[in-house]
Structures are given as structure tokens and as C-alpha cells.
Amino acid sequence: MELYHVELLSAALFAIGIYGVLARRNSVLILISIELMLNAVNINAVAYSAFLDPGRLVGQVITIFVITVAAAEVGLAMAIILRLYRTMSTANADEADSMKW
């Protein structure tokens, strides 16, 4: 297991996340895809910390913060989706387009 293996795994996970964000209509699924992308970043951070950082600490600390923020984000996002569903009776991101033009 070399560093670039982990990096490639992270890149693949990130690309899949991007595909999810771009291709999905349902906002819950978009949110989940974003989680995938965040995890790709987390893998990278930890891997760099493990392979490169002499103190082996910063990457893990960063990851902890990312996870924290991700948790907050999911909570808020789900609340927004609930709200969106109630006012527009849809959870599809492309149908909530009343602010265009």
C-alpha cells in the first residue's frame, strides 16, 4: 500500500461524488454525494498525515474538524430539505428554481 494508492482511492471517491452531485435531482442524494466528496478529502488528509507529516497529527485534527462540520452540515441541510419539501412539495433541487432570471 503506497501513498498514491490511497490518493487514487480518494480521487475515485471524489469523482463519484462529483458525478452524484451533477447527475442527481433529489436533494437528499446530492447531499449524500457531497458526503462522499468530504470523505475523499478526509482520506487524503489522513493519508498525507500518515505518510508525510513528521508529527503525524495535523491531518487527523483537520479530519476531525471536517467530520464535525459535515455533521452540522447534514443536520442543517436536512432541515432545509424538509422545509423545501413542505413549501414546494418537492425534494428535487431543479424544481426549486423560482429565483432564476
Binding site: I16, G17, F51, Q60, I64, R86
Partner: protein
């Protein structure tokens, strides 16, 4: 091929497979479960990267909290279309774009192989000390962020005055028949 390589290969397949499951399945609940699979495997990768604490946190927070929140929210909205979601029309372009991104990133990674040291990780004690000394202020701020997000989520999700938690009539009257009262909407 040593044990860690085998384990990594297995975990990588699980991560990628779970992720692909997330983005191709038509059922939102299934997607959440695939996510759980993928994230748990990421936790396994963390163990291989000598980050046991993180692996634990990963499985607890992602596997436990976040996936549960997602599933709860799905249950609260109970839209029937959630079992059969359609992708948007640009999914093919999206696939190309995602592959391109992977290509770009992969190219960069393979062309810039870094000189690595021996794989190692901090002890849990070191991490704790570090977090509560050098990083204490960001740590506290992060907790504040969580608190604010929590309050915000509650305020957003609770029904406003006169709002019965139903989708409003003005937007789509037909949707009224699809959803019944959602007690979770009222706090």
C-alpha cells in the same frame, strides 16, 4: 502482496462499490445504506493508515449519526417518489465530467509521486493533548458551529405559525393527498 495490501484492496473495492451504489440506485433509502457501507469502509482505510481514533469517530458519526439522520428525514418526508428517483438529463455529461476529474487527479497523482516516510500515526494521547492545547480554540469554535447548526436546523424544520407542516396549497394541491400529517414537523 502483504496483508495490509490485501486489506486495502478489499476496503477500496468496498468504498468504491458503496459509492457507486450511492450514485446509481433509484431508491433513496438504499442510497443511504450504500453510503453507510462506503463510509464504514473508509473507517477501515483509516485503521490501515494508523488512525484508530478517526476510524472510530468515522463509524460512530457517519455510520451512526449522519446516516440515521438521513434515514429519519427520509421517513419524515415520506415522499413516494423517493423509492424511484430519476436522474437529471445531464447525467451523461456528468459522467464524462466525473471521469475527466478522475483523469486529471489521477494524472497529477501518478506524475507526482511523493517521497513517503514510514507509515505511522499518533497515539490517542498525543492526539488528545494536541487537540486540547494547540487546537483548543478551533475545537471550541467547532462545537459552537455544531450548536448553531443544531438551533438553526430546529428553527428551519419546525412549522411556522399557521403552518400545519403540510406542503402549501398554493404550490401543488395534489400533493396534499400524498402526505399525511407529520408530527415531526412541529417541535
Amino acid at each position: 502482496m502483504d496483508a495490509s495490501a490485501v486489506a486495502f484492496s478489499f476496503l477500496a473495492v468496498m468504498v468504491i462499490g458503496g459509492a457507486l451504489g450511492v450514485v446509481v440506485t433509484r431508491n433513496v433509502a438504499h442510497a443511504a445504506l450504500f453510503l453507510l457501507l462506503s463510509l464504514a469502509s473508509v473507517g477501515g482505510v483509516f485503521i490501515l493508515l494508523v488512525a484508530e481514533f478517526l476510524a472510530l469517530v468515522q463509524i460512530l458519526i457517519y455510520g451512526g449519526a449522519i446516516t440515521i439522520v438521513l434515514l429519519f428525514a427520509l421517513m419524515l418526508t415520506r415522499a413516494e417518489e423517493f423509492t424511484n428517483v430519476r436522474d437529471n438529463p445531464q447525467w451523461a455529461v456528468a459522467a464524462v465530467a466525473a471521469l475527466s476529474i478522475f483523469g486529471v487527479l489521477g494524472g497529477v497523482i501518478l506524475n507526482n509521486k511523493l517521497d513517503t516516510q514510514e507509515l505511522a500515526g499518533p497515539s490517542l494521547e498525543e492526539l488528545g493533548t494536541e487537540l486540547f492545547t494547540n487546537w483548543v480554540i478551533p475545537f471550541e469554535i467547532a462545537s459552537l458551529v455544531l450548536l448553531v447548526a443544531l438551533i438553526g436546523a430546529i428553527i428551519l424544520a419546525r412549522a411556522a405559525d399557521g403552518d400545519d407542516g403540510q406542503p402549501s396549497d398554493a404550490q401543488d394541491p395534489s400533493s396534499l393527498t400524498d402526505t399525511d400529517g407529520t408530527p415531526g414537523g412541529r417541535s
